[in-house]
Amino acid sequence: MTSLTRRTGTSRLKHVLLAAALLSLSACAVLGKTDVYRDSNMDFGSLRTVAVLPFTNLTKEQQANDRVRDVFTSELMATGGIYVVPAGEVARGIVAAGAGSPSTPTSEEAMKICKNVKADALFTGTLREYGEIRSGTASANAIVLSVQLMEGQTGRVVWSADTTQGGIGLKDRLLGGGGQPLNIVTQKAVNDLIKKLFE
């Protein structure tokens, strides 16, 4: 009788542990997907030409948004899959569309801009962190960027993702050195976003 109770207790414990493990795994799975939104009805393969609007700059670094936008444009074009409208043409399209806030257009404005520059969709973005961050004596470069894709026909957001790259790691805390150069960190962040777009 005692052994039966003990066996039941052990099997219960096993069940609880298994359930906990499953829960933690599923939690991880959900966490891994939360930074990407993808419209399941959108045919991303139909996108041939896109425009990249100026990014919103929430950092204290002047022109950081333009620098990141330029890297994003170059890397996107370098994939060979999408043609990116030059920044000068986008600026002309924004003026012609009369967009009040070029970095955060409304659906109507997004449609107008796409029509003006003959693009299938447009990217908007927000730069939340760019530059050196400090913690105690350690410092490193970091970037936090989120990007959205708005479809040209309807002005809907069909894809959205964010990324965080750089920051102070164990190596920086122990050995110092200031982390990786900002250009490298930016390129990594942009490549991470592009990977999320194409996967």
């Binding site: 022109q63 333009d66 620098r67 330029d70 890297v71 170059s74 890397e75 074009m77 370098a78 060979g80 043609y83 990116v84 030059p86 920044a87 000068g88 043409e89 986008v90 600026a91 002309r92 003026v95 150069p181 250009n183 390129q187």
Partner: protein, 388 residues
Amino acid sequence: MTSSRSFSNKMRLVLVAALCMLLLGCLHAPGAQTAPAAPVAEVVTLRVAVYPIDNLSGVPAPVNELRKEWIVKLKELGLEVVSDAEMERVFVKHRIRYTGGVDTATAQAFRKDVEADAILVTSLESISDLPPKLSMMSRLVSTEEKPRIFWMNSATLAGDDAPGLLGLGLVTDFKVVQEKVLRRLASSLRLYLEDDPRQCSFGSFESKFEPKTIARPTPAGQEKRTSIAVVPFYNESFRKSGGMLLQLHFVNQLACYAKVDVVEPGLVREKMLSIRMVMREGISTRDVDVMSYILESDYVLSGTVFDYQDTSGGGGTPKVDFNALLADKINRKLVFASKSYNQGDDGVFFYDVGLYKNVAVMTEKMTGNVVNEMRLGERKTKSDRPSY
């Protein structure tokens, strides 16, 4: 006895070695004197108007003195230089104020009024006294109906470029640096005048200056001969005239390709002013259309400069960051796009080996790599100068 003899022998060897090293240091020092340039063997009777130096350095500079020294070097090559009085007369008569390039009207004025075959346009990129530093770009532009670039080159030197052992190679006298820079430009012009095949050898392409991203969104046309107009780059850097400097660096590189006709920057400026073109954040498709039409060029090269940062007072690290976009006239799309960024200390790990202290040298190498990636054919080995 034996030990004292061997000691003195060793001492002698050490002294000889030190002397040799000292001599070597002096040999590579920027201040090392070289023989004055002899006139070109087959003297080309080019009558040249030497424009006042266009100061793009952002700081006050003794441009008149520089120009005088430059004219001395040109005369040594056997060139006939238009006198200052004659040039002043043309400037006043035709109300010419811009000396950074040659447009159609200016070229015609110099041809008709003073019978000049070419105009030498010189731009001052950077200048400083401590440490002495000088960077200049010069180009010889024809006075034909549509002015074209015969020759172009740049020369840059700083007194602390090659400090050598114990700083023996440091140069503190600006005049020495100036002499060396002008002599380099004169030597390059001499190679051109003599039709030397080495006239466009810029040295090897260093991999660290290659563009970080390259895209070829649409296939480029396979023309036998290509004409490219380079517009001033959109300047987002803190350096005044950063966009114009990048434009000149690209023109300098492109002018060395055998199958490329680069439109003279003065002509580009003239047309941009005539159609009142304002570029917002770079060139648009409409701008490409208009520019390529009025300049009769197949491609338009533009871009944005984000950083053009030089060292100041011998400290700091130069930094250059830009993108380049080549747009095609026919399909009105980009055929080439690249992104380049470098710092002077890129790839430097031990004792400053490979350290660059000069933004002009870095930009020359970076633009050279970008143009090389455009696949425009072979570099020039013969000049396209018509015989006068």
